[in-house]
């Protein structure tokens, strides 16, 4: 039961209740039908008893002439029988059925004094069960017992005939109830499905909280989920911070070691591996905390970065062509990382100039280009320079590593990066960034 779905549990409960209700209804209706049919047969038997009573004289004898005259009104169908049993003998239908004594005292010494009103009496004959009525008259000679019987099937058949449509109706009703319960459940569970979708969105980083405007039963769940999500985010931030702190704390001792080791020694090579791990850990720690709902104005960040590049590379002219208030859904810190790495790369390879442009590509996309007038990268090598760490150990600043970092960082925000030819003659880095609202 525990592992079954909520819907199955509720459907099972509803099915049990429906079955019980319909069973009760069926049982009651069958009883009513049986009473009505039996009542009809009893009336006919009582009418026959009245005919029989009219041919019994006061002294207990039977007026045979009268009996013969009225015999036609006694039912003669198969299984219909009658009998008059008195102190002067018994007459009646041949093969009269054996009847059970209605109550022990009826035919014995303890029998209540006649006359007795008509009473039901059941029994059997050669062809099956019968239903009878018995009337006891008082005569001068003693009690005269009048009995009329009918085959049980004249009661059973109409009941069976009525039960078929009744049962059909009950089954149809059960199906309608089941369908109604299922639709109701679907409707009632719909907010739950919506909540599940929102939790999925939180996991994918598309939203930070679930909607707390929920039906009363789900509201506490939504509030608890939000508290959980907040606690989770705090744990993530703490984990990111401690990973960053660890990597950060390693930098100074690694720098000290690097100064004391001969650059060509095997130990120095191992140290460079450690440096690689530190950079990787820091990049990954940063990736954990990506905030996709950020909205950052490109122009001021690009201007800040360009100023730094201008100081570091005084012989290179950096031009910015970025319209004001063009926003991307990238955290300011990460946008500085992306533009900084790319512009630094461009300035390092440029002969005289670099250029940064940005424009709206579509309502969801901002296009950013970073161009330089350097040698560029041949098309067949472009894929290779995007491999992280491929050129990590070459060049003083981990030349080329920056491109892979930028591509991975941008991908975390749902953006893409491509390399191409610049109109300035060198490399063009083309970014497709998510638009910030």
């Amino acid at each position: 039961m525990k592992r079954r779905s909520l819907r199955a549990r509720m459907m099972l409960l509803s099915a049990l209740a429906t079955l019980a209700a319909l069973g009760l209804a069926g049982w009651t209706m069958t009883g009513v039908i049986a009473r009505v049919v039996t009542g009809g047969v009893d009336q006919r038997l009582d009418a026959q008893l009245a005919v029989l009573a009219s041919v019994v004289r006061d002294d207990g004898s039977v007026d045979r002439a009268r009996l013969a005259a009225r015999q036609g009104s006694l039912a003669a169908g198969p299984g219909w029988r009658w009998r008059i049993a008195g102190p002067r003998g018994t007459i009646g239908s041949p093969d009269f059925p054996t009847l059970r004594t209605p109550f022990p005292g009826h035919a014995g010494a303890e029998a209540p004094p006649p006359p007795l009103p008509p009473a039901p009496l059941d029994g059997e004959d050669a062809k099956g069960r019968v239903h009878a009525r018995q009337l006891v008259l008082a005569s001068e000679a003693g009690p005269v017992t009048l009995t009329a019987s009918a085959p049980a099937r004249v009661i059973g058949q109409p009941i069976r005939d009525a039960l078929v449509p009744l049962a059909t109706a009950i089954v149809v009703l059960a199906l309608i109830f089941a369908l109604a319960a299922w639709v109701q459940l679907r409707f009632a569970l719909r907010p739950l499905a919506a909540l599940v979708a929102q939790i999925g969105a939180i996991r994918r980083g598309e939203r930070a909280t679930v909607d707390e405007d929920q039906p009363a039963e789900l509201q506490p769940l939504a509030a608890e989920l939000n508290a959980l999500a907040a606690a989770n985010a705090a744990t993530l931030a703490a984990a990111r911070q401690s990973a960053a702190n660890l990597a950060h704390a390693l930098k100074t001792p690694v720098a000290t070691l690097a100064l004391t080791l001969a650059p060509d020694s095997p130990a120095a090579a191992q140290l460079r591996r450690i440096e690689g791990v530190i950079r990787h850990t820091l990049a990954r720690a940063r990736a954990v905390a990506v905030n996709r709902r950020a909205s950052t104005d490109i122009a001021p960040i690009a201007a800040d970065v360009a100023r730094v590049i201008g100081t570091l590379h005084p012989t290179i002219t950096t031009r910015l062509a970025i319209p004001p208030d063009l926003r991307v859904a990238i955290d300011a810190h990460d946008l500085a990382e992306i533009l900084g790495n790319l512009l630094e790369n461009a300035a390092r390879h440029a002969r005289t100039a670099t250029l940064v442009t940005a424009d709206t590509e579509s309502p969801e996309r901002i296009r950013v280009t970073i161009d330089d007038d350097g040698p560029g990268i041949p098309a067949e090598r472009r894929e290779q320079v995007l491999q992280p760490g491929v050129r990590l150990d070459e060049g003083p600043s981990g030349d080329g590593f920056g491109l892979a970092i930028v591509r991975d960082l941008l991908a975390l925000y749902g953006g893409q990066m491509a390399l191409g030819d610049s109109p300035l003659g060198g490399l063009r880095v083309l970014l497709h960034c998510p638009s910030g609202r």
Binding site: V254, T256, A258, E275, R286, A332
Partner: protein
């Protein structure tokens, strides 16, 4: 070349200082933010190497204070923080260059020499003065196209002179830029160094301006 090195790590600071001295630099090491700021405000340095995370005062605060006080010495920020956002903030505070730990000594030296050269107003890395040439990129001197071997003190004096060739450099300033802050300076030692340099590159190259200081002359002098 006299460098102010600001680094609070008890191992890394002395290690960098050793490496810089091996490249002929005079180095004053400050491990505390307040000391560092004071040294930068009162002493004459060719450049400063500044860590950002320091006790009692952050590197950015020191840098901002120096710039606000009109100190124009070139500053290279040497930090473990590699984020561009930190880099942007350091340059806004007035940094001239930025290097992240771990780093290579050659890289640090190359950048420091470039900073000092640019601060002296030279766009080219190779500075020529008559038969004498200074490859500021590597710190090598050449005389008539041949490498010139110099001691640390000789190198410090000659690099000061060639970066401001044809300009008189005050004797006191030269002393300041050649000796470390805690050095026991013998007033005659500078004359001794100048004398040795004159023997190596030619006596007429270094001119003594009475009562003022020294000047490196580049023009063809009569023998």
């Amino acid at each position: 070349m006299r460098i102010l090195l600001v680094e609070d790590d008890a191992d890394l600071g002395p290690a960098i200082a050793r490496a810089l001295r091996a490249e002929h630099c005079a180095v004053d090491l400050a491990a505390d933010g307040i000391d560092a700021q004071h040294l930068g405000e009162t002493e004459a340095y060719d450049a400063a190497v500044l860590d950002l995370g320091l006790p009692s005062r952050t590197g950015a605060e020191i840098l901002t204070a120096w710039r606000a006080g009109g100190r124009t010495l070139p500053v290279l920020v040497l930090t473990a923080r590699e984020a561009w956002a930190d880099k942007v903030a350091a340059f806004k505070a007035g940094a001239d260059d930025y290097l992240t730990k771990p780093f290579r000594v050659e890289e640090l030296m190359m950048r420091l020499r470039a900073l000092v050269r640019r601060a002296a107003g030279h766009a080219q890395t190779r500075i020529v003065c008559g038969p004498l040439a200074f490859e500021s990129h590597t710190g090598q001197f050449e005389l008539d196209g041949l490498p010139l071997k110099l001691t640390a003190f000789e190198w410090r004096v000659l690099s000061q002179l060639i970066l401001r060739r044809e300009v008189v450099i005050e004797r006191l300033e030269l002393l300041e830029r050649v000796y470390e802050g805690d050095a026991d300076v013998d007033s005659n030692s500078l004359e001794v160094i100048i004398g040795r340099l004159r023997r190596k590159i030619g006596a007429e190259r270094i001119e003594t301006v009475r009562g003022r200081g020294y000047r490196l002359t580049c023009g063809e002098q009569p023998a």
